[in-house]
């Protein structure tokens, strides 16, 4: 599935929740279901420091030339959003990731969590994901 199909899928999932309470409950559920980075990969070097919550992010390039992201956060709501970002961006080529326009965050009403003024590390994580993609892309084109 391509990135936009994945985004549309998430938008559909969230459509049934019309208040923030249900949405947040779903995010908490998502966070519980996904153990997204192994403990041994929660290295200082993988840590994205937000003032509020911490996010760990790990990226590898697999044999098919696709980027595999793994991540985690110590805060559940952040972790829920992290899991959505991973679901959309993992297992795509660096080029696809670089070109991706992430409209789903806005559509499902979680934009505020990615505002530069929220220091939860999510925006920094997203930037870091794009940077990994750029680095891998350069590597592939060498």
């Amino acid at each position: 599935m391509d990135i936009n199909t994945l985004q549309d899928q998430i938008i559909e999932e969230f459509e049934i929740y019309d208040d923030w309470m249900d949405k947040y409950n779903y995010l908490i559920e998502l966070s519980n279901n996904l153990s997204i980075i192994s403990e041994e990969n929660k290295l200082q070097s993988n840590l994205i420091e937000g003032c509020q919550s911490r996010v760990w992010l790990n990226a590898t390039l697999n044999d098919e030339g696709k980027v595999i992201f793994k991540a985690d956060s110590d805060a559940m709501i952040t972790k829920g959003i992290v899991s959505l970002l991973i679901r959309v961006l993992t297992n795509h080529t660096p080029k696809e990731i670089i070109d991706a326009d992430l409209y789903f965050i806005d559509k499902i009403g979680l934009k505020e969590h990615l505002s530069p003024t929220r220091s939860n590390g999510l925006l920094a994580m997203l930037k870091q994901m794009k940077l990994y993609a750029i680095a891998f892309n350069a590597k592939l084109n060498n």
Binding site: W20, M21, Y24, N25, I28, C51, Q52, S53, R54, D74, A75, M76, I77, T78, N120
Partner: protein, 406 residues
Amino acid sequence: MSYDINKIRQEFPILNRKVYGKPLVYFDNGATTQKPNSVISSINKVYKDINSNIHRGVHFLSAQSTDAYENARRVVKEFINAEHIHEIVFTSGTTASINLVAFSFGEKYISEGDEIIVSSMEHHSNIVPWQMLCERKNAKLKVIPFNEKGDLLIEEFKILLSEKTKLVAINHVSNTLGTINPVKEIINLAHKKNIPVLIDGAQAVQHITVNIQELDADFYAFSGHKIYGPTGIGVLYGKEKYLNTMPPYMGGGDMIKTVSFEKTTYNDLPFKFEAGTANYTGAIGLAEALNFVSSIGISNIRAHEKALLDYGTMKLSEIESLIIYGNSNNKTGAISFLLDNIHHSDVGMILDKMGVAVRTGNHCTQPVMDKFNITGTVRASFAMYNTKQEIDILFESLNKILEMFS
């Protein structure tokens, strides 16, 4: 006099606000307080009626602005009962006040091997300036520890005090733990060895009576925005004998007597420490805020906030899985806590959606977090306008959050 909470609340326009359709419960007063109408309209009045650069002006508006600014200084002096008006220096905030002392006192009095004592419950603004000074001068920072309850270990302090100690810098009230520190005792102990003491009063002046002459503090710093006043204005009280001997911090307009490329002479106190165009609007607004606080009476505010603290502590303690950090017998109205093992930012974000504004994180007191081995807390901090009903809302909201995460 009875405490008319409704009348008080009416003075704060922002309290009528709704967030996400819910009435705002503002419990983030430790970060900054809301402003009463009188403060807001005093700022309006400056800009609509008398705005002009102060000092040195020969014209009408300038005289009016200057009078209002210098009157603000008198209001501050009386509010904290300082001895002399020229011991009141306006700065841009507590942080600037402390940095001023760290630089100017440091230049004059600190040399290699000297020691400065702080505590491990200080705000970063009362740690980092001293670290920077110590690095510059090759001096040493010594730290008074505190116990599980959140009380400073005075016996440890006594041991740290030595001939090497050149300054003690302590907060009057901890912004994270709410502890009211025994600053009078600390000052007495230091003074016995002729060591001056700086008190970071950022979390004190708005909650408890501060009497500089009684305390005998050598320096006292606070911020306007935390005591119902404007942003961008703060106060440094300093004893004449120190301010007179310290070199200036910033150079510029108003802080000099004469300037030539051969020789520049500095102005008298307090102007020596007020370089550049002062934030006179801020000072005038701050004076209005202090007058507002005085009109209600700081001891009445204290009684009201103490009642909120007791009630809040009681209610929150009903939640079994809730841990309160900071349990001193001598506290202001700030409750730091963690709910079950839910991350503080999750609690804060969901409380927000329920209309309750709290602060989460390390509250710029990372050493306090390290001490308890946590990454942050949720902090509800009270002001004169908060109510028990608001604490009930907090209590119910926390229970709902517990359900969400169960």
